[in-house]
Amino acid sequence: MEGMVYAQPKALTPSRKDVLVLTPWLAPIIWEGTFNIDILNEQFRLQNTTVGLTVFAIKKYVVFLKLFLETAEQHFMVGHKVIYYVFTDRPADVPQVPLGAGRKLVVLTVRNYTRWQDVSMHRMEMISRFSEQRFLHEVDYLVCADVDMKFSDHVGVEILSALFGTLHPGFYSSSREAFTYERRPKSQAYIPRDEGDFYYMGAFFGGSVVEVYRLTKACHQAMVEDKANGIEAVWHDESHLNKYLLYHKPTKVLSPEYMWDQQLLGWPSIMKKLRYVAVPKNHQAIRN
């Protein structure tokens, strides 16, 4: 911060007037305009921060890796140390993508599941297991992302904090009664209609290794409990993520800039940047 020159923050001028930038529990909601990336980069570089990015490419989903990694190289945590953790059942199909300085890729071979719902849900188990065994010693923060996406604009250290979730782009303006939480009391993911802060997307969450470990372990245990009781939550791991973040509030919330689908939702003026977006895919073909 020595000698850094930047515009003065004004105590009486909000950075955004059109959106909520702070949750009621005082966690920042990250939108373009709310942060100065130069200050944040300096703060995180001083800590020599290393960020881990977990991504699962099971069965046919390996086809998404190339674009995911290439765009991550352009936009994700540029200037900081990054380790990509690619979980796959097809290590030979992991593409060779040239990586910038201070960035490396680790392939973690794991089993697949027949049902796509099981592939999705078992990510929680695998992340929790590897967090304890490995991630704790290698990175400071973990970002857990879906692979069938690409980075289209800056995604940087502004997202990093103890625990973060991302607003689902389909529900950021909905009432909580309309959130697709699990509504059957029999499930561990159950949330009653008068509760809930936001509807978070299962495709992008993270935090410190310890907090991600706690979250993924809790979600996995909840899913095991549900299975024993013969129930599967309506949106699988996403339902359990939402339950967890309701009672363990995130310390930062990412706006839908960080999770968008341009085909479905266009580009509304409230989104100053579209940073991490869905890649068009044929659901039937890919989930077989």
């Binding site: 911060m1 020595e2 003065q8 105590a11 009486l12 509030k249």
Partner: protein, 245 residues
Amino acid sequence: MYQPLNLTIGVTVFAVGKYTCFIRPFLESAEKFFMRGYQVHYYLFTHDPAAVPKVPLGPGRLLSIIPIQGHSQWEEISMRRMETISKLIAKRAHQEVDYLFCLDVDMVFRNPWGPETLGDLVAAIHPGYFAVSRQQFPYERRQVSAAFVAYNEGDFYYGGAVFGGRVARVYEFTRGCHTAILADKANGIMAAWQEESHLNRRFIWHKPSTVLSPEYLWDDRKPQPPSLKLIRFSTVDKDTSWLRS
């Protein structure tokens, strides 16, 4: 969400010379408004322990009276606070509290001050400068001082009357300020607003994780602007020249 953590919040406050008259209103109002429902430990530094009034404290709330040297010059008393706080932390506070706030004594709590204020490193915006450009902030502007801030630097002007955070962070912060104060002393210079100048210099480089609005540090002589919904901690009306004589 903070209550289940069973936290203890420390408060340092200095009452030297005639400032002992502020102890009762400070403590009585703190008992009413400061961190209700939490364990609180007041560390009251004074040259005259006998002058400390008996103020009843709620359950889980303690007062430690710590004798310190008086000084003929009020500036000297003010400047030594950083050193005194860091020594307190090293000696005992690091074991006794989780968070520590360092507050001026000539103030009263008028509304709740709660866990919303807890953070790793906490600063409060000075009530006189929140609507003003950084060029007008009363930073120390002489380059020879360790508290020097250039005209194109600065985020907010923070008040020296309120700062705090996790006890380890407050230790680093007060040590850093004290080192800078000593550097200035060796060069025969005293910063424009004493330790407030050094505090402000340090907060540019080591940015606070939590910034309190002027609700938490108000000057009752100012008219209350519409942006200020609630005043929680503010000055006691006083005759400064008499107090400092």
